[in-house]
Amino acid sequence: MFPETAQRLKAAAPLVSQTRLLKDLSRLYPHGGAFSLQSRRQISVSGCLSAKIQPPRKPREPVEIPGLEMVTYGERMHFVPGLAKPRYPRWERDYKDPRYYTAPPAQEMPLYKEKPCHVFNQRTSALEGVRQAAWLTKAKVIPGLPPHLLSLAENPENQIPDQDERVQNAIKHARFWDTTQERPRKEKYSNTLLLNLLHLCATLQSRNPAIGRRILAEDHSLAATWTRGDDLFQIRGRNGLLHTSMDPLPEVSGKDEVSQTADYVLETFYPVSPTIDLQQVNVYKEDVNCSGFTGDYPYPHAHTLYFLETTDSCKLRPEQFRAKMVMFTFGNALARAHKLYGTEPQQLLDRPVTVQAVGTNGRIFQFLVFQLNTTDLSGDDGIKNQLWLEDDVELYDFAKVRPLIKKKQVKVPAGLTGYKPEVFTKFLSLYLHGAA
């Protein structure tokens, strides 16, 4: 809508209340349009209502002469033409009423700091994706999962009886059978699929009691701080699902590989700054490190994080979703490392902290293993953290309620097609890592 049309609307609807018009117009132009939102009275109701509207008259600027006392009509309690408008000091309530609270400007807040902090939160969509996340976390990206992890689920003892059939039933339940409607919506089926797969993996607890030493936690708040060069970074947010365990995960790569990472050069993407798309705040608490749990939590070690692509609040593209996975895994590892070894940067941790992550949108899975070797993240040299990432693996090709027919030929039949069992073996091996 153009400003003129908006003005004509305003002119043509004199009986409509001004506030409603203002609200509608402010909704149309949320970021402030080129025209002013000052109300202009349409005094004449007769005559042509669709004539050209006069441009807004600029009010006369008040002249301030220091030392000269203005004679105002304040004492007379009514407007007197020729006298100045009285200016009163701002009135503040002497009690606190939460309905009428206005926050002070950032500079007056007690936690204000000159140096800005770059915050990565749930809604951040990093421009450069995994490369940016790897630079921020000082990590070396290794495509593909470590091979010895995958062999965990190849062992027939660690497999679920009737595994393929049960996984296919789980997918069909999530995609077809979970609703009274024709098909469930994407948020619903991705959530149901993840919970079904977790339920399947957890049935192995009868054979493998070490799996009983873990628990799922929903919606914990994470906070971690680190410096990188001159900049301060924080990661804050509420995660979806976290699998915590009583025992830490074993390290994935040995000491030799870790020391070899010192030769690796981090990938930069000049001219784009690595702090792009991160929220810059001047009001923050310093050195906040919280894994989401207080006190003597019986399951202190993070095992796996499960991410779902939420479609309503913020849609993240696959690369940005993977970056979010990396950052939150790193945040969990860092918070726990800070708790174990203190907040002083350590060149090489005695026992590297390993955390896994699985992200899905209901069909496509991303698997991630992060090993935190060092908390000394200020320089670009030295030992790096390691990151194994396997992206965009499809669990199945199609799950259609009605067949896809093109030119009277069935291209994709109804039901589940193209199921790939190796993807579930990867999921299971990540689940069993540390217990089998």
């Binding site: 039933n169 009274t180 339920h199 049935t203 607890q205 009868s206 936690a217 749990f293």
Partner: protein, 431 residues
Amino acid sequence: MAARTRLPLLFPKNLPPFRHKKLVHTETAVKEPAYPPIVASLTAKSKSARLRQVEEQVKKICASPVQEKLSLITRIQRKKFVVYPQTFSRNADRWYQHFTKTAYIPGLPEKFTPAPVEPVAEGSSPSPAALTAVPGIGDDAFADLRSLVTRVILQEQWHMKKRKPFLYRHQEQTFGPLLRSLVTELTHNLGKYNPLLLLSSLDISPQVNFYWRRGQRIIPKGHRRRHLEPTRFQIDDQPLCQIRITQQLPQFTPLEASYAAEVPEITYAPNLMPLFRRQYDNNIFTGAKLPDPACYGHTQFHLVPDRYHRDRMARMQQSDQVEVFLRANALASLFAWTGAQAMYQGFWNHEDVTRPFVSQAVITDGHFFSFFCYQLNTVALSVETDANNPRKNLLWGTESLRLYDSVQDGEVVGLNDDVLKLLVQFLMNQP
């Protein structure tokens, strides 16, 4: 003259000896009917034609496969009473008992009540051991479960940093995650003792719907005035979580035992409860569609929302309605679930169940737990089929029992072992 005389002496007194038997063993020849059976017309504008149409529809439904049966029964949308399992109505449990033909039996069936201790015991050691442990689980395993439950409660209530809950969503945001974690952890842990749970399906916030007819009324006004109309009901429920299994649970009591049970009769119309009528899709749903292999129900878990929390009821001086609310909730939810399970197996109004369908429910507000068991003996609730139906459905239930008092300084204070035992027994239920 000779022709007119009677001839009694010509009739032989002694008939040949085998002649009788030949007559006895002969069956009357089956005569093929020359004309088709005389039945009422199908298309005439008469009451008998309408009855015949209804008969044909019933025969058609009986002859079709299950998926078609469900769609034929729920095809036509009409105004129906929407029964809410969690309702503010007073004395809702008696009304719901009348709608679903259920008898309430206080206490739990014999399976869950411990056998009374024999006064003459062989030694003091066997009886305490039998009392403390759940059948099928040793003392050590029970101690493990106890510590697991403590850890789950502490994680949600003490260790995890949570934001302040929203207004009137305190229950959903504090105790919802606690109950879900409790159910998932206990189910996974008890998988080694109850193999049914290994093949089970755990649903979070599933839909459970049921549609049925019970009773009739005379339409007071309109072009169909003075006609008889069956009263239709629909339950749309959303439990917090439920466990569905692949095999059916065994019955608590035989079908015949329900003949003696008493169901309260309410002579008032349902809309006086208050209950309101709407017209929308008739759904019959257990939580998953028909092709799902886990079509039988095991246990449902319900959370009492803020609106019906006992503190709020006490503030409104309706503390007596707290237990009533729990019973009504269990009744409606479990009737809907078992009814839907029965319909998935092909039983409906005119084809009554041949075996009872059994399910369990736990209703809690975070601190107080109530346990309910339901046995569905009959689905034939409409006027035509209920006339000579002596079967009644049965609901067993407990009063609300406290699981733990509070969480202080990282410790759970006052964890009640009996309630925990009942919970474990419920989850251990298997054929």
